[in-house]
């Protein structure tokens, strides 16, 4: 048994294509993911928007607008929203054509915004200018309301002071006095899903290792298989040592991938190391059983078997969000059954629930599903491998 274990390890490690797909490829792909996705979420956060304001007489006279824009573009203000250039109309047009600014504001009778095309920055620009106009209007409405009430009582002596006091009152209402409480989870980085699908892919690719190892023992695959089949060692021992050796190889690959993603790519798998290890062990088992079952059920060349596992893995990973993160969500929402039987989805969802949720019920459900998946496949494989007889090979 130890002999077979040792030689299976040797055979597996010497297979260059195998080592490429199971060890190197996930690491290469992870590097690509990291290069492409590392800045995406940073770019989605609200940044300071570059805009221009046309300096004309009407704008110079509008103290209210001038002041408001000054506050919004103040570099010392932590809520600075705009980076404003004050220019003439010709320069503003030029800046817009050259894509230096999102848009520019020109005050004619009313404020007008000139932009190039639709977009989120443009919407925010428009929204803020509207808010400034709104505040102005609010002063008027409140003033009218008070005037209506207070003129008969002759309380108002100086009309200018009266407006200033209302204006000050409105400005004094800070954002903080609005009672909004953010209760969202701190772990919201959705690009993590890409790396979780990567782990899922590596685990399922591990199936190729199991397949190669089992193929070595199958009499209909090679002469080596024939020799092993007629040897006096019990089948049970042979298979067990083969499977154990391929599981070991698979885990070594997975450990390398984890080390690489955690220490070099800085991927966050959540805090509970023990649960991460448990999920990885179960996930690898699922991959292994997939490989063994394909190897036993499908009677054809090794290349075809590899092709089937690669294609199946890719398809499962596609459904669990590797080629587009929302794919998993779309499937979960519309065809939940599909993702409940998809091992890549179970693995991805397991890591996702460790990362995102505080409770463990969803994680446990994934672990149990993966175990059931592996057991079913292993039972099928055992039935196929038992009492094999060949009239001729």
């Amino acid at each position: 048994m130890r002999h077979n274990f040792k030689y299976t390890l040797k055979i597996l490690f010497q297979n260059k294509a195998l080592i490429f797909w199971t060890f190197a490829f996930p690491i290469i792909l992870g590097t690509f993911f990291n290069m492409a996705f590392s800045d995406i979420e940073k770019n989605e956060k609200l940044a300071i928007i570059d805009v221009a304001v046309v300096k004309n007489e009407k704008f110079e006279n509008d103290e209210f607008l001038k002041n408001a824009l000054k506050i919004l573009s103040d570099k010392k203000n932590k809520d600075q929203l705009f980076n404003i250039e004050y220019v003439n109309q010709k320069q503003a047009k030029k800046l817009l054509v050259e894509d230096k600014i999102t848009g520019y504001l020109i005050v004619t009778n009313k404020p007008k915004i000139v932009i190039k095309s639709n977009g989120i920055n443009e919407t925010i620009f428009k929204y803020i200018i509207e808010e400034i106009t709104t505040t102005k209007k609010m002063v008027n409405i409140i003033a009218n309301n008070r005037l209506y009430k207070e003129i008969p009582t002759n309380k108002i002596s100086n009309i200018e002071n009266f407006y200033t006091s209302i204006y000050k009152k409105i400005l004094s209402l800070k954002d903080e006095s609005i009672n909004i409480k953010d209760i969202s989870n701190k772990n919201l980085s959705y690009t993590m899903i890409e790396f979780y699908t990567l782990i899922a892919m590596a685990c399922l690719y591990g199936g190729i290792i199991g397949m190669t190892a089992i193929n070595n023992n199958l009499p209909n695959m090679s002469n080596k298989g024939k020799r092993i089949a007629i040897s006096s060692i019990p089948k049970k021992k042979l298979l067990l040592s083969t499977v154990a050796a391929s599981y070991l190889v698979q885990l070594i690959g997975l450990i390398l991938l984890f080390i690489y993603t955690i220490f070099i790519l800085k991927i966050d798998y959540g805090d509970n190391i023990f649960l991460i290890i448990l999920l990885s062990l179960v996930s690898s088992l699922a991959g292994l059983s997939l490989g063994i079952t394909v190897s036993c059920l499908i009677k054809s060349s090794e290349n075809t078997k590899t092709g089937i596992i690669l294609a199946l893995t890719m398809f499962c990973c596609f459904l669990s969000g590797m080629m587009g993160i929302t794919m998993k969500y779309i499937i979960d929402k519309n065809i939940p059954l599909l993702n409940k039987i998809n091992p890549a989805s179970m693995i991805t969802d397991g890591f996702y629930s460790l990362y995102y949720y505080d409770t463990l019920s969803r994680y446990t459900k994934n672990i149990i599903s993966l175990l059931i998946f592996s057991i079913i496949l292993l039972v099928i494989a055992t039935f196929c491998l038992r009492r094999q007889k060949y009239d001729n090979i």
Binding site: K16, A17, W21, I28, L29, F32, M35, A36, D39, I40, N43, E44, K45, L46, L96, P111, K112, I113, V114, I115, K116, S117, N118, G119, I120, N121, E122, T123, I124, K126, Y127, I129, E130, E131, T133, T134, K137, M138, I141, I142, N145, I170, D175, S177, I178, I180, D182, I183, S184, N185, L188, Y190, I325, T326, K328, Y329, D332, K333, Y352, Y356
Partner: protein
């Protein structure tokens, strides 16, 4: 001619695997091109929000929801155990607003009730938060002056109705352009993977030792042999390219026949030639048939990720785009992005596009040259 015949023979022999491979690439390509309605008028970006209202739907609460409804897309997701948090994580909604029980009453009684929110903290969420704050702020200010709810709502609405005049300068239909660009950017992967895979597969058959020996002792010149092989392979690349162009016309429609569309098609043609010569170069270097799959994935995926085929180029880190300068895909995708921005097409505006095109042609020449040098060297050394 004999080379071309052999080429066709091998191509037909592998037709099943080639068709499957191309079909998968096309499937992903189609999937990647999302559909959008097209418009050239200003339409404000609307964040996707979700409102969980525990209060009675009347008065101030109703008015708040109506206001949010007008300015954002309100999503309806059943409030099941994980569904809301999942929706937030996968950006199905950007902002969740929990309106507490008795919100209206507490607000009118000046108790300043708390509204809980969940946010993705991106642009859309910031916009949603601005809206919510704007409404609450307006309501708070007015409420200190106007205690009556009906008058209060009237004042709030007349204030929030204000809208700024917008003028849009672009005459381009940005949505169909975006669709075209995303399709052609993805084609970088499909064309590269398709060319490298098939051409390497065919070349490896030509390189079997006995066949190679026979070709070498024939009177055929090495460069003529390479040229013949290259031309035969061009046929495959050409068919692949035509296929993608036809598919883009089916997917995007008439917009492909605008000057922008034509420029994109020309750009993709030059890139296909580049992919062809690159594939030819790799095929010459490669001696192991089993390595093809790995090489294809590393090269096609690598240049697609690094050059902005999957993720828009402006989202990539600076260091990555710096490295990408050494890859032909970078110039192809850069050109697509440049074409997107051109308003009027004339010699001055497409100047930069032309320069990138020339760089692609230089790549083509370098690959041909390298292929010839290497195949000659290999012959001299290995079969003496």
């Amino acid at each position: 001619m004999i080379i071309f015949k052999t080429f066709l023979k091998i191509l037909l022999k592998n037709k099943f695997i080639i068709i499957t491979y191309t079909a998968i690439l096309i499937f992903f390509g189609c999937f990647n091109t999302q559909t959008n309605d097209n418009t050239t008028n200003f339409s404000a970006t609307k964040p996707d929000i979700l409102i969980i209202n525990k209060d009675e739907n009347k008065g101030l609460t109703k008015d708040l929801i109506t206001y949010l409804n007008k300015n954002s897309n309100i999503k309806k997701i059943p409030d099941k155990k994980y569904s809301l948090d999942d929706a937030l994580f996968y950006r199905d909604v950007n902002y969740i607003i929990y309106i507490p029980k008795d919100f209206r009453e507490d607000f009118l009684a000046n108790k300043n009730p708390q509204i809980k929110i969940k946010s993705t903290k991106d642009y859309q969420a910031s916009l949603a938060e601005m809206m919510l704050k704007r409404y609450l702020k307006t309501a708070t200010i007015y409420h200190s002056e106007i205690p009556n709810e009906k008058d209060l709502l009237e004042s709030i609405n007349s204030t929030l109705k204000v809208s700024t005049q917008i003028q849009m300068t672009t005459k381009l239909n940005t949505n169909s352009l975006n669709k075209m660009i995303s399709y052609y950017n993805f084609a970088n992967y499909s064309i590269l993977a398709g060319c490298v895979y098939v051409i390497c597969l065919i070349l490896s058959s030509f390189k079997e030792k006995s066949i190679r020996k026979r070709t070498i002792i024939s009177s055929l010149k090495s460069s003529t042999y390479n040229l013949n092989l290259l031309l035969s392979n061009s046929l495959f690349a050409l068919i692949l390219w035509i296929f993608y162009v036809i598919l883009s016309i089916i997917l995007v429609g008439n917009a492909m026949f605008t000057p922008h569309g034509i420029l994109l098609i020309i750009n993709s043609f030059i890139f296909t030639l580049c992919a062809l010569t690159l594939a030819f170069f790799i095929g010459t270097l490669l001696s192991n048939k089993n390595a093809i799959n790995g090489i294809v994935n590393v090269i096609a995926l690598g240049s697609s990720f690094l050059c902005g085929s999957f993720v828009p180029i402006e989202y990539l880190p600076k260091s990555v785009t710096q490295i990408a300068h050494i890859l032909p895909s970078y110039y192809y995708i850069k050109n697509n992005e440049l074409i997107k921005k051109i308003e009027i097409i004339n010699l001055k505006t497409i100047n930069e596009v032309l320069i990138n095109g020339i760089i692609l042609i230089i790549f083509i020449l370098i690959f041909i040259l390298l292929t010839n040098i290497i195949s000659k060297k290999r012959r001299d050394f290995s079969y003496q």
